[in-house]
């Protein structure tokens, strides 16, 4: 067993070295360097080659079954693949809500037809997905959604509005919560899939404080959704949504991490200088960075522990809430420290020297981390109730 794993590690490393293009071993300079695939993708040099090479082995989704485009790897093999990729500095070949969110939900709740139709396209980066959950008047009370799906025999007729739809303007398909029963708050919601090119679908980007528009308002006006696109049972979409939210929280909690920390150290050394002992010249900034570094490294262990427990089926079902809460708060802290380290250089918003205000925009972007995918307050409520078993108010 151990020997097999060591063989696998050696082979994997050799394959990665042979197949990962040099451009894809450079650290990403900003969020914009990520590859999300899809019909509208514009690839940077090496990006498509890298994605296709990985997809050919099923390694964009290494732990999915081979039948659905996955690599069929065991948890131990998956971990080795990630470790070897990290060692070589390989970029993630494909960022995707299809991989991180819809995929696990389809694997659990989808029909065989749905799996065969959608999962391989996700694995190959052919179809880019977005998520239609939040609505303008629902906010943290997600189940208060109003977008309606009327039963028209062979299809649903969907009308309503979503908000905070990530990259809806660049997505090909949407997985979406709709109300199919107005008399039951939680058990009147269904989970459906449809093409964003269906007549009646339109999107409007939301300008954020960062100056970017990663989210949209999304409007549905008499959109016809075939009934075979219902995932799970009618009126039981809330179960699918909750399952999927857990995966979203995992993903968000994984942001930042080591490369971000190294960037912070380098920036602080560059902008504030060092004292005679090689320490940052600003002692209070250094103290805050030291405590952040402790938490960040401890959380890295926590992430490894959580993933191991998850794979072994030992994780508490509400643990993703803790991961999401802690990880996003850490990410916000890191970005506050970046701004404190960079001083007035990083306050510039448009200059070349500041790379168009990249750091400031990233800092502002992180403020959404503790809001999107369920606010920190919601996560704390969940931990208190579902893990600590504290009584309802």
């Amino acid at each position: 067993m151990i020997d097999n794993l060591e063989t696998f590690r050696a082979e994997t490393r050799a394959w990665l070295e042979a197949n990962c293009p040099p451009e894809m071993r450079q650290p990403m300079r900003s969020e914009k360097d990520a590859n999300w695939g899809g019909r509208k993708a514009v690839y940077q040099p090496g990006q498509k080659e890298w994605m296709d090479a990985m997809a050919s082995r099923g390694w964009t989704v290494p732990d999915w079954p081979k039948a659905y485009g996955g690599g069929g790897l065991s948890p131990a093999e998956t971990k080795i693949l990630r470790e070897e990729m990290a060692k070589l500095g390989c970029r993630n070949p494909l960022n995707s809500f299809g991989i991180s969110m819809l995929g696990p939900a389809l694997l659990k709740y989808g029909t065989e037809e749905q799996k065969l139709e959608h999962l391989p396209k996700i694995a190959r980066g052919e179809i880019r997905w977005c998520q239609g959950y939040s609505e303008p008047n629902a906010g943290s009370d997600l189940a208060g959604l109003a977008t309606s799906a009327e039963d028209k025999g062979d299809h649903f007729l969907v009308n309503g509005q979503k908000v905070w739809t990530s990259y809806a303007d660049q997505a090909d398909w949407i997985f979406c919560l709709v109300r199919t029963d107005k008399t039951n708050k939680h058990r009147g919601i269904s989970f459906v899939l449809f093409d964003m090119e269906t007549p009646g679908v339109s999107t409007r980007p939301i300008l954020l404080i960062s100056g970017y528009s990663p989210f949209c308002e999304t409007f549905f006006d008499d959109v016809k959704v075939p009934k075979e696109n219902l995932v799970g049972e009618l009126n039981r979409g809330w179960d699918v949504a909750k399952y999927l939210l857990g995966h979203e929280r995992e993903m968000i909690s994984g942001m930042g991490g080591e490369s971000g920390n190294r960037a912070l150290h380098a920036l602080a050394r560059d902008k504030t200088g060092l004292d005679g002992e090689g320490r940052l010249a600003d002692p209070l900034l250094r103290a805050q960075m030291a405590l952040y570094e402790v938490r960040s490294r401890a959380f890295k262990a926590m992430s490894e522990k959580f993933m191991d427990e998850l794979k072994a089926g030992r994780a508490h079902p509400a643990q993703p809430s803790m991961m999401k809460y802690y990880g996003t708060e850490l990410n916000k802290t890191r970005n506050e420290l970046m701004m404190a380290a960079g001083g007035s250089d990083l306050l510039e918003w448009e200059s070349d020297a500041s790379n168009g205000g990249a750091a400031a925009r990233a800092w502002l972007r992180t403020k959404a981390n503790s809001i999107e995918g369920g606010t920190s307050e919601i996560q704390l409520n969940i931990i208190a109730k579902r893990i600590l078993d504290l009584p309802g108010a």
């Binding site: 954020l208 404080i209 100056g211 007035s344």
Partner: protein, 370 residues
């Protein structure tokens, strides 16, 4: 003197509050930004500020001003902060006036400041982190000086009529301040739009020739530099306090109005406790700022310590206010359409100005002897 606003100061505050919130509400700043205003502020509004008498608050009566103090200037700054009003008030009517006060230069510059025609900027920082230190050298040349080097984070530097430049005159230990008029040969100001849509310049000095009378308050004038810094830091604290207070007020309104799960979110105890903690932090910061203003006005030796405490404390409190503000607003707080995000941006810029919380807390520790 009691540590609260007296009746006249309260009247001034009410006047300033009405005037600023009517003439320069957040929408005013938003419009300047959307129009990509090259000045970064409105000269018309600066003129009306002068007509209200605000620009002369710190100028002695003998020089045509109101002869009031930093408490009164702070009252105006807080309203500027609360409304995120782009204004050269802090650099011009507070810091520059404090530096020029009693100097020979005052006759040249005070009338324009009183009239709302003159804008001053402070060329102090040479590094991305303000550290109070000045490396720039002014070489003696004939009766005057030659100045070379670079400054950054010079708010309004691209439109200023007057640059107040901090440099060392050769062997002197202390910093000397120079009054450098706009258009002086060899001075190049490159405007940079900042995160909060304000504009600060990177200013290059290439062998700039200055007359002997460009010196403010004498060579080796560490005392003038110290007064300038105290005034700028305490003034920035007051403006930042307005930013924090404005963010809190906006957030408290939201907590009362916004419904989730069928009730106002302000009824959730966890948010109530955080709101109450935030209120406490801001109240404590307010006391620290007022104390520093009073000490500066009485010429106390404790003013430098009080200034450091005020800047550090308002940095803590206002940073909390804008963070809680955005978080408690939820998704809408992340949109450019809503004003709360502007408070976060402005708070960040002011936190950095004239030394951040870490810098000043370190200074407090040094002054306290540890």
């Amino acid at each position: 003197m009691p540590l609260f606003l007296d009746d006249e100061q309260t009247m001034l505050r009410d006047t300033a509050r009405d005037f600023v919130s009517e003439q320069m509400p957040v929408a005013h700043m938003r419009k300047l930004r959307d129009d990509k205003s090259a000045d970064g502020f409105s000269r018309d509004h600066w003129k009306s500020f002068a007509e209200m008498g605000f620009t002369g608050i710190l100028i002695p009566e003998g020089d045509g001003g109101l002869g009031l103090g930093h408490v009164e200037a702070g009252v105006v700054l807080e309203e500027i902060g609360r409304n995120l009003s782009p204004s050269p008030f802090l650099t011009t009517a507070v810091a520059a006036v404090e530096a020029l006060r009693g100097s020979a230069q005052r006759e040249r510059w005070f009338p324009g400041i009183i009239a709302g025609e003159t804008v001053a900027a402070l060329a102090i920082d040479e590094k991305p982190k303000h550290n109070g230190k000045v490396a720039m050298q002014a070489r003696r040349a004939g009766n005057g000086y030659r100045l070379s080097g670079a400054k950054q984070f010079v708010t309004h530097g691209h439109v200023a009529d007057l640059l107040i430049v901090a440099a060392h005159v050769e062997e002197n230990a202390d910093v000397t301040l120079f009054a450098v008029p706009a258009g002086t040969a060899g001075v190049t100001a490159t405007p940079e739009r900042l995160t909060d849509a304000s504009i600060a310049a990177r200013v290059q000095f290439d062998d700039v020739q200055l007359d002997g009378d460009a010196v403010i308050g004498g060579e080796d004038g560490g005392e003038a530099y110290a007064r300038l810094l105290d005034a700028a830091r305490i003034g920035a604290s007051a403006e930042m306090l307005g930013v924090g207070g404005g963010a809190m007020d906006m957030t408290m309104s939201y907590l009362k109005d916004r419904k989730q799960f069928g009730v106002a979110i302000g009824s959730f105890q966890a948010l109530q406790h955080r709101a109450a903690h935030l209120y406490s932090e801001l109240e404590v910061a307010r006391a620290a700022v007022l104390k520093a203003q009073q000490l500066l006005d009485t010429g106390s030796e404790e003013a430098a310590m009080a200034a450091a405490v005020a800047k550090a404390m308002t940095g803590l409190a206002t940073t909390l206010a804008v963070q809680e503000g955005v978080q408690m607003h939820g998704g809408i707080g992340m949109t450019d359409e809503h004003d709360i995000g502007f408070y976060m941006k402005r708070g960040r810029v002011l936190a950095e100005m004239f030394g951040d919380t870490n810098f000043h807390a370190d200074a407090v520790a040094r002054m306290a002897g540890f």
